[in-house]
């Protein structure tokens, strides 16, 4: 009898979903790209990542912007940012459409050059037909054209303390860049909205932790780290949205494109390690079904949220150095069915399957 009871108890414990939820596990990773180093294909504390749909673009603390083959992790080409004495960029976006701010055709790289207090926009360099798959210095060095740059140090309009990310809004017909959203931190935490040519249109938020009122613009930010525009589509409802990871307030905010608050997921008070709450969310990407994937710097994991209800749909990853572990992850990018998590302290990109269902 006793054996039966014990067995049943063990069985129940083993099957309990809570047991697997509360104990952090490594990501069931497909592998990892890179490793510490300054040769092409390796990284020194990588921070920012995005994709042009085919390749990955990664910036690390050596000041290099590397174009990485998403299938093999091989560096296809790279270039070095002009000034990096004071620090390195934390935000990177590849524009969603084939149009650059100056009206010419061709996708662009938008770089929030955090510690140089500016935004750099480079034309995406041509992809070389052949490239050296070895880790050698003679990997192709690209010389991309600087399309535009804006921003100076300061707290005035059009100035930045530390810009963290850029998001691009194309016009409805996709023929021009309508708006650029730039987030910043460092004491003047806010989001500035620029026209395609770099003039300030308006500013959202002020430094602090107040959540503000739904439908209003009286909210505050503490280190808005990542920006994301969800275009109007059936999956996200009829209305386009701006999603912001408000990192030090441990929350994610949803806004209309004009900045009216739609709602928050998480709050400074509920920050923690449990499922459904966050610690220092940083990178932010959306899945095709409109759910959000965020990288939690503080919890060393990737968490998926239902955007509308704020419910957690799963969390992957734990702190560590082993396969599938994360150490201070900063950001992520999604290519097809795979997500690439920037695992900064492990100097690599962890590759995982995009969660579904």
């Amino acid at each position: 009898m006793l054996i039966l009871v014990t067995g049943a108890a063990l069985l129940a414990a083993g099957c309990s979903p809570s047991a697997s939820n509360d104990t952090p596990k490594p990501i069931a990773s497909l592998g990892a790209f890179g490793g510490p180093g300054v040769t092409p294909g390796r990284y020194v504390k990588p921070r920012a990542i995005d994709t042009d749909g085919r390749d990955l673009w990664v910036i690390d603390r050596s000041g290099r912007v590397q174009r990485v083959d998403a299938d093999t992790g091989v560096c296809i080409q790279y270039f070095i940012l002009p000034t990096t004495e004071r620090g390195f960029p934390t935000g990177l976006k590849v524009s969603p459409g084939p149009v650059s701010p100056d009206g010419t055709l061709g996708p662009c790289l938008y770089i929030a050059d955090t510690h140089s207090h500016r935004v750099l926009v480079y034309a995406l360099p041509a992809r070389p037909a052949e490239y050296n798959p070895e880790e050698r210095w003679d990997a192709a060095v690209a010389e991309p054209k600087l399309v535009m740059q804006f921003g100076t140090f300061g707290e005035g309009p059009g100035q930045f303390l530390y810009p963290t990310d850029v998001e691009v809004l194309l016009s409805a017909d996709g023929t021009r860049v309508e708006r650029l959203y730039v987030s910043e931190y460092g004491g003047n935490d806010r989001i500035q909205v620029f026209s395609g040519s770099g003039e300030v249109l308006f500013t959202l938020g002020s430094p602090g932790s107040q959540p503000g009122t739904i439908g209003q613009k009286d909210y505050q930010f503490q280190r808005p780290q990542s920006l994301l525009i969800l275009p109007a589509s059936p999956a996200v409802g009829g209305q386009a949205e701006l999603v912001v990871s408000d990192s030090v307030n441990h929350r994610i905010g949803r806004f209309t494109l004009d900045g009216r608050l739609l709602g928050w997921i998480g709050s400074p008070q509920t920050a923690g390690t449990a499922r459904g709450v966050m610690q220092h969310p940083r990178g932010l990407r959306a899945l095709p079904d409109g759910t959000l994937l965020t990288v939690e710097f503080g919890n060393n994991r990737v968490q998926r949220f239902d955007r509308l209800t704020g419910r957690s749909l799963g969390a992957w990853g734990r702190a560590g150095r082993g396969p599938g572990d994360l150490a201070e992850p900063w950001s992520l990018a999604i290519v097809g069915r795979r997500a690439f998590v920037v695992d900064a302290l492990n100097h690599r990109l962890v590759v995982m399957n995009v969660p579904s269902g």
Binding site: F153, G186, N299
Partner: protein, 1037 residues
């Protein structure tokens, strides 16, 4: 060559035995084995021959031989400064020549400068080889680089060493290394980098007397070598002040015309003051006005320096920090009144080098904190006392001793008291929390740990300290909880395990610190934050908690991302200002070294608890000492002092004691020097009554004089002779009256630029003349302190001391005027290497030609002998057991695969069946006269193949003739194994396949072969269908 493919014999002569012995065995075998069957006999003979061959083979000592075929080239690249512009060329050469290598070849790279560094261990040649740090480049040690390259050579490849150098060495001997390479069979190819300085001037040396008297005029000799006649200007600096060498011409320099070869110029100079006089002479080439071609290629070698000690009566240096300005006035006044020459300096530049400090016989620190001095200066102080015999007097004050962060410093060892208070003393503790966020600065991990250790070291064992950081892997970030330090090992371990996470916010770290600090009983609570300032700031409410809890926060901003005045710095500054802490800013690399000092200084904040202040009391005299002679007691009262503890072991003497027997005045001998600690102060803060006390002057004069090093003997002359890596010191000692001083016992130490003391031994080489050697390989200043003692008649001990400074102005590396290709060529010739041309295509450094391919040999005689023994047993078995080898093989094969039906196996089963059939037929014949047709045959016959049908139908109609035929075909098999058994499952016996069933009678015929054919056909059919015959494992194909 004694090879047999991969087998090599060490004693091949034994193999000659083989034909003879084989013939013998065959001859004997013919007789002794004649009773056996032919096959058995042959097998037995074969086994015997095999045994014989194996035994003789084992005696010939066979070895298993593996020969490598890859080539590993180890480059030794001279990376010294004389070749600095050649490095790129050399690396290009390595890159280009690696293209001539095969994929399996390997490359290694070792750089040679002052030290050898392995830049690349042997690795596949296609991998990029890069040169990283090469260490100090002011010297060349090709030998150590070559030896290092030899040490890392792979053993499974043919090795070649390629030396790329100019052949000039400042240390070691490449030739010696080449001899080792020759012994190891490694050829050294050389790629000489030739150069020749046609127009070069080298300032060989500046010769000055090591010691001189005050006000003496001395002759300096300037030795300059020129490769050709040239003109130039010589200038001389004395303690960095330019000396006018030629008063008749404008300017201070002196125009000289140098002849080709060595020029010696003599210059008279009057010595200005006492102490160390540092000479620096410079040569500047002039563009030739008088026809002589100006020429100087390398300018690093145009300077020479020297030091002369100008002797005098005792001199002392008093260091009074700026913040304590005035505290030393009364003391200095008293010392000067006592005719001691005193220099007063503050902490900004108390002394320039150990040589500078060594000039003084005594050093007095007045209320000086450890953080006033760099770690290097603290090391110099220790060396000054221990090795140079200087006297140190530390006078107390609120910033001195344990309260001044000296705990754990190099100076603490020299003091006659322990700075940690005794455990029995009940005193309030200090509590310090370190908030570490150093990950974003250069070498952040290194400095983070250094800072934490510096702060911990400066605290006493009774204080409490804790460390908190942003823990990226979760948790509350407490690296070490706030706790009593004890022996500090726990917190040190914790500091080593910091993870250096990048903190996004100060709030959690400060909240943790607050909780920790408020949770303990402490007199002083303090927090130090080190950060780049970009984490989110704490709220005012949180800071208010700190203020209410009387916790001060000091902030150290390191390498903020934005420039001065940025919000990051304002934020850090504000935290410090609001909570009563101090704000520090580190923005450039050369400030980094001061970081630990900042932490020591900040840690002092909680050390106020080590100060005793109270009602005036008279320190009690605990012992009589030499410097206290004649000083009347009772001593005036004091009102405060820094608490320390008496040293155990009795070497230190405590003269005055305070409350609870705390030492107030203590003295001892440390190394060559003497140290005095006075834990109260010398001003009216704690010792008001002392400043008015008539004994004040005598007290300090006698104590300082006791500690000071005995004065330099004017009649001991020291000179130095440069001998390459070493310097010879020659001492001539004489009495005042000129008589030589013989049989002196010398003790001495030389302190080099690395501040490591090396003992110096002097031996008498003539009347009053002593010599010794000092290693002086590195460039920089060396101070040699020599003391002597001589027991005179009547037991009186005569003591004295002298000093000499040796300077190595520039490295030997810059003395070379041309390459030393001859050495390289000699090395190549010695080792069988080549002199390379520098053209990678023709040099072919990876060419295996001329290289000995390494062969790895493994003796296998034991294995061979064991096989021979096994064969021998087999031989015995064959003869005695009369075993049929073929049958054994069959049995083995049957055993190996279940159902594996080899053709012979089938024959056996068929034969068994046939015998059974014969028996049945015989029975039938007995029973019925006319044989009946069994039903089975009638059914199966039409299905058989036409060619075999007739035969198959009569298959087992065995006749005697058939049996005989079968027997002769089956040889021994029948005799040994043909026993009745279960019919074998197999294609041939499967009903319906060949139509044969057991016991079929039939016409006589060649049954066996027909059956086999039928079976093969059946198998073929089955295989065509893609199946494996049932019961057939498919192993017999």
């Amino acid at each position: 060559m004694n090879f047999l493919g991969i087998i090599q014999f060490d004693r091949p002569a034994w193999l000659l035995l083989l034909p003879v012995a084989a013939a013998l065995v065959v001859w004997i075998g013919r007789k002794s084995l004649s009773g056996m069957g032919t096959t058995t006999r042959r097998v037995a003979l074969g086994i015997r021959l095999a045994v014989l061959a194996l035994l003789i083979g084992a005696m010939a000592e066979p070895q298993f031989r593996r020969e490598a075929d890859s080539v590993s080239v180890s480059f030794v690249l001279d990376a010294s400064r004389s070749l600095r512009d050649m490095q790129a060329v050399a690396r290009q050469y390595i890159d280009e020549s690696s293209r001539t290598a095969r994929d399996k070849d390997q490359v290694a790279l070792v750089t040679a400068a002052r030290d050898a560094y392995v830049q690349a261990l042997p690795r596949p040649v296609r991998q990029q080889v890069d040169v990283q740090d090469v260490g100090a480049t002011d010297g060349t040690n090709l030998e150590s680089a070559g030896r290092m390259a030899m040490a890392v050579m792979p053993s499974d490849a043919a090795n070649r060493l390629v030396v790329i150098s100019d052949g000039n060495e400042t240390a070691g001997s490449l030739l010696a290394m080449a001899k080792s390479a020759q012994a190891a069979g490694v050829p050294i190819d050389v790629l000489p980098r030739t150069f020749s300085l046609d127009r070069e001037v080298i300032f060989e040396r500046l010769v000055t007397p090591a010691t001189a008297r005050d006000g003496e005029v001395v002759s300096l000799r300037l030795v300059v070598t020129a490769t050709q006649r040239t003109q130039g200007r010589i200038s001389l600096l004395m303690n960095e002040q330019e000396v006018d060498l030629d008063p008749e011409t404008p300017g201070n320099g002196r125009l000289v015309e140098l002849e080709q070869g060595t020029n010696v110029l003599v210059q008279q100079v009057a010595l200005p003051s006492r102490g160390a006089v540092r000479f620096r002479a410079l040569f500047e080439p002039l563009s030739g006005a008088s026809g002589a071609v100006a020429g100087d290629t390398v300018t690093d070698n145009n300077v020479a320096t020297a030091v002369t000690f100008v002797g005098g009566e005792g001199r002392a240096l008093v260091v009074v920090p700026q913040r304590a300005a005035g505290e030393g006035d009364r003391l200095v006044e008293a010392l000067r009144a006592a005719d001691i020459q005193v220099d007063v300096r503050d902490e900004r530049e108390p002394w320039r080098s150990l040589a500078d400090l060594g000039v003084y016989e005594g050093l007095v620190l007045v209320n000086a904190a450890a953080s006033d001095f760099s770690l290097a200066q603290q090391e110099e102080m220790r060396s000054y006392v221990q090795d140079l015999g200087g006297g140190l007097v530390m006078v107390g004050g609120p910033e001195a001793f344990g309260a001044g962060g000296w705990i754990g410093s190099p100076v603490a060892d020299t003091l006659p008291i322990r700075l940690d208070p005794p455990n029995k003393r009940q005193m309030p503790r200090g509590a310090l929390m370190l908030v570490m966020h150093s990950c974003e600065m250069p070498e952040g991990n290194f400095y983070g740990r250094r800072c934490a250790e510096a702060a911990i070291d400066a605290l006493s064992s009774r204080d409490m300290a804790g460390i908190v950081e942003h823990n990226w892997s979760g948790g509350d970030g407490i690296v070490h909880p706030l706790s009593i330090l004890g022996d500090k090992s726990a917190i040190r371990r914790a500091a080593n395990a910091m993870t250096y996470g990048d903190a996004p916010s100060f709030v959690p770290m400060l909240e943790t610190s607050y909780r920790q600090l408020m949770g303990v009983q402490a007199g002083q609570r303090h927090v130090i934050i080190i950060s780049d300032g970009d984490p989110a700031p704490p709220s005012d409410a949180l800071l208010q908690q700190f203020i209410a809890g009387k916790i001060s926060i000091s902030t150290v901003a390191v390498f903020p991302h934005a420039g001065p005045g940025s919000t990051d710095l304002v934020k850090m500054e504000r935290i410090a200002r609001l909570t009563g802490g101090t704000y520090h800013e580190i923005t450039v690399n050369n400030q980094l070294n001061s970081l630990p000092q900042i932490f020591i200084k900040e840690a002092q904040t909680v050390k106020r608890s080590l100060i005793w202040e109270g009602e005036p009391f008279r320190p009690s005299l605990a012992a009589i000492s030499e410097p206290m002679r004649g000083i009347g007691t009772p001593l005036p009262p004091i009102t405060g002092y820094v608490v320390g503890a008496e040293r155990e072991g009795g070497l230190a003497q405590v003269i005055l004691r305070g409350q609870e027997n705390d030492p107030v005045l203590a003295q001892w001998q440390f190394g060559l020097g003497r140290v005095i600690a006075f834990t109260s102060d010398a001003t009216s803060r704690w010792a008001t009554a002392w400043t008015q006390w008539p004994g004040y002057r005598a007290f300090w004069e006698q104590h300082l004089r006791w500690a000071m090093r005995p004065g330099t003997n004017q009649n001991v002359r020291v000179s130095t002779v440069d001998e390459g890596d070493k310097t010879r010191i020659v001492v001539e000692a004489a009495q005042q009256d000129g008589t030589r001083m013989d049989f002196l016992r010398w003790t001495g130490a030389a302190v080099g630029p690395d501040r490591v003391a090396v003992p110096v031994e002097l031996r008498q080489t003539g009347p009053g003349r002593y010599e010794g050697l000092v290693p002086t390989a590195a460039s920089g200043s060396y101070v040699v302190n020599l003391g002597y003692s001589q027991v005179e008649e009547g037991g009186k001990v005569n003591r004295g001391a002298t000093q000499v400074a040796i300077t190595r102005p520039f490295a030997d590396e810059f003395r070379f005027m041309r390459d030393n290709s001859a050495l390289l060529e000699q090395v190549a010739k010695l080792t069988g290497g080549r002199v390379l041309t520098g053209n990678p295509a023709t040099d072919q450094v990876w060419d295996p030609k001329g290289l000995t391919m390494p062969v790895s040999l493994r003796p296998i005689w034991l294995e061979v002998a064991l096989i021979a023994i096994a064969c021998f047993l087999l031989d015995v078995a064959v003869r005695r057991v009369r075993m049929d080898v073929l049958a054994v093989a069959r049995a083995i094969r049957r055993g190996l695969g279940a159902g594996s039906s080899a053709a012979t196996g089938q024959i056996d089963s068929l034969r068994t069946a046939r015998q059974r059939a014969q028996a049945q037929v015989a029975e039938r014949q007995r029973g019925f006269n006319e044989p009946g047709r069994p039903i089975g045959e009638r059914i199966s016959a039409p299905t058989a193949a036409p060619g075999d049908r007739a035969g198959a139908g009569v298959k087992f109609e065995a006749t005697a003739q058939e049996l005989a035929q079968a027997r002769s075909a089956g040889s021994f098999a029948d005799q040994v194994l043909a026993k009745p058994s279960e019919p074998q499952r197999g294609p041939a016996s499967t009903p319906g396949q060949g139509g044969q069933t057991q016991g079929q009678p039939g016409a006589p015929g060649d049954g066996m072969s027909r059956l086999l054919k039928a079976k093969q056909r059946a198998q073929g059919d089955l295989n065509k269908d893609g199946g494996t015959p049932p019961g057939d494992g498919g192993t017999n194909r």
